[in-house]
Subunit: 438 residues, 2 copies
């Protein structure tokens, strides 16, 4: 079946989440969770594919414009021509020599690349009639490696080394697919711990999380030390000693300050400190990790880590203990596969960033593939779960008992319900027309 | 005099340089040198200010749109309110919490930040009736340090350390201003060595460069090793042993490949290898630098280095021997000042990237300030010079005898002639209307 991509439409969709204080943290006081939402039309009746990148409001129009600037690289192509050599297709998307100047492979142009690449993978998986996790898991090691552009990785992960990692766990894949169906993939929740919430709400949400079966919670820190100590104490009171607590500073600290501050929170035994400082500061994270490791506190970062070259260095420098890929910040599935394999090579678990719009729906596929084909272990691996906007989606993740359950729906997407798309369309949807300002 | 910024206009200006092969290199085969060109209007008759960022064609519209997204942060402000606390003004421009998600401090949004910040400094210098280099040089150390946002720098350069560096050379400033007027600032030229040029043209341009007084040339390498060896041999034949040769790979190599390739070029004694690999790869550059240092070859990078946090790490990791700031890639003058001081603290000379549109006009001010106030030395310091588009500017740099000569014109700008602006305006200017495609 020859499938041709006949058109690409991009929608600027913004949910007015800043009107509550959902999602507030020390760096992002008032996000409006938004999607640069790509719809690919094809010449096959009923075959439409979806891709997105995630932003937090203003500037989403820039990502939409960048998608338009890249669209000619896929419109008119057959799916077969793109997936015949997936690494080459990806390289082509990041190699327009003039657009590359705007990154390279970072910022608006790379966020836009993610939206298009994600849509292509959705199309591929839909055409194959499989969820993405299964499409990936059923690939032979050399097919999978053929999806990865190894440019700039050779000093840390060669094609041959990647093949070796995949071959090592090739045998038990069927068994692990059955395990996933039986026990799901572990999740942790950030729903309780936003900075905008009062102590009573924090306490109530902790109880609800524990009652739902979560044994790992995360809270935001970094605005005020006394406040953080009080909130960590409350959460420990509520979740007890046996459950895990992680904390997230969203980049607000200097390197020495991160170390000092976290020493004060050490009595509450945080599993990791997330984004302690600038997301670009590999060496800074390495200094923090080395100071906190003796206290049993790991360092996590990645939601603002813009490409595989940065992740390579975080791993080489022993700067992270948990690798938090973002499915829309990296340039879509191809680059994400590279980072999972890099992390595996360095023995670091990947715990994807999620929440926002559509991120949970994306990362479930990635971590399930990781378990089946790469890591063969749940040890230290956990997917973030925040469910603010699940009602706006046609195909939200299935989560219960603090586990993600594998979907059997074909594709790789978070499909926004048509009514929600119309309602939250920026700037002309009803939600924004009535707003006093954007 | 209270000056209020009454309006900000942004122009998408693109020069069709790809129609020749000017500016071609291994990564950028067909650049159309472009400007995201900002014009600030004020309530003072005759007082207009200009700022820009540089791109190489497609995607310039994204930077223009990003400038629009940031414009409300300066329009309606008085100049006095912005320069009362310049570090705070800069922090405000990079801290819109929603727009920050698109970087942070990288890619399209940071390029746009540069255009606006550069325009504000032009306004400040014009209002003061001084060229930027003099405005900066005449500041007291604490005033200068007050222009810098030290966020994420404290582990490498504190405010106090920056003050100390400035105080160290405060005394001899007047003398060095006189020296600059007498001997100018040393330049090197890239005009001869673009990959698109044939051997005869290379030879002729080398002779012309030597005849003009240049004792330091740079050529592009990295497409084909035999070709590079031949071209290095030609250039050494033409310039002799006493002059300096640098080579520039524009990011085309893997880390191990960079080392192997450069060993082959070592007999031609290159002073530095520029952009050997991914511009994000601090640790990769460190590995290359450590392998090439025994051969007397330095490593240079920076034109794609997106912020001070990256430069901090290149310096901490001993990954660069020459620091090549880009006046439009970094977030304008405030951030550039930070990088010059960081480089000084680590004992590394700054040799700014230039060429393109307007970059020479910008960096002359920065390096002259460096000489007067920071380094007090020309040792190892040289400004790139490429003069493709000088005719399109009202105020091109003054260069003769391979030296930049200090301008006394007030401001910090590259002002595009009105006719050139109209002619090259994208997409409706005559140059682009007649083009078969953009």
């Amino acid at each position: 079946m020859a499938i041709t991509i006949t058109a690409l439409a991009v929608h600027d969709v913004r949910f007015p989440t800043s009107r509550g204080l959902d999602g507030s943290d020390a760096m992002n006081p008032d996000p409006d969770y938004s999607s640069t939402y790509v719809v690919l039309s094809t010449d096959q009746p009923g075959l439409t594919a979806y891709g997105m990148t995630f932003t937090i409001g203003r500037g989403n129009e820039l990502c939409c414009a960048a998608v338009q600037a890249l669209a000619h690289l896929v419109v008119g192509c057959t799916l077969a021509s793109l997936i015949a050599d997936p690494a080459r297709f990806w390289r082509r998307l990041v190699s327009d020599s003039q657009l590359r100047w705007l990154g390279p492979e970072k910022g608006v142009i790379h966020l836009a690349t993610a939206a298009i690449v994600n849509a292509i993978w959705d199309l591929w998986a839909r055409a194959a009639g499989k969820p993405l996790w299964r499409l990936l898991a059923e690939m032979e090691p050399d097919q999978l490696v053929g999806c990865i552009d190894f440019r700039y990785l050779e000093d840390a992960l060669s094609r041959e080394q990647a093949l070796e990692l995949l071959r090592a766990n090739h045998a038990g894949k069927r068994e692990r697919i059955a395990t996933l169906a039986g026990v799901g993939f572990p999740a942790y929740t950030t729903s309780a711990g936003w900075l905008g919430y009062g102590d009573d709400k924090l306490r109530r949400l902790c109880r609800e999380a524990v009652a739902s079966g979560f044994d790992h919670l995360k809270i935001k820190v970094g605005r005020d030390l006394d406040d953080d100590i009080r909130r960590c104490r409350i959460i420990r009171e509520e979740i007890g000693d046996g459950r895990k607590l992680s904390v997230d500073a969203n980049q607000v600290w200097e390197v020495p300050q991160a170390i000092t501050w976290m020493r004060q929170l050490a009595p509450f035994r945080p599993l990791w400190i997330e984004e302690p400082t600038s997301p670009d500061d590999v060496l800074g994270h390495a200094a923090i990790a080395s100071a906190l490791r003796p206290l049993g506190i790991g360092v996590a970062t990645g939601e603002h880590c813009h490409n595989r070259v940065m992740f390579k260095q975080f791993l080489q420098a022993k700067a992270i203990d948990y690798c938090q890929i973002d499915s829309c910040r990296l340039g879509g599935v191809n680059e994400i596969l590279a980072v999972y394999l890099l992390a595996r090579r360095f023995g670091i678990p990947v715990c994807p960033h999620a929440g926002g719009v559509g991120l949970c729906e994306y990362v479930q596929h990635l971590s399930m593939w990781d378990y089946i084909s790469v890591s063969a272990s749940f040890e230290g691996r956990v997917i973030e779960f925040v469910n603010h906007l699940a009602d706006e989606l046609e195909n939200p993740v299935r989560i219960s008992g603090s586990r993600y359950w594998p979907t059997e729906q074909a594709g790789y997407s978070a499909v926004i319900r048509p009514a929600a798309l119309a309602e939250n369309s920026f700037p002309h949807g009803p939600v924004w027309r009535s707003a006093s300002k954007a």
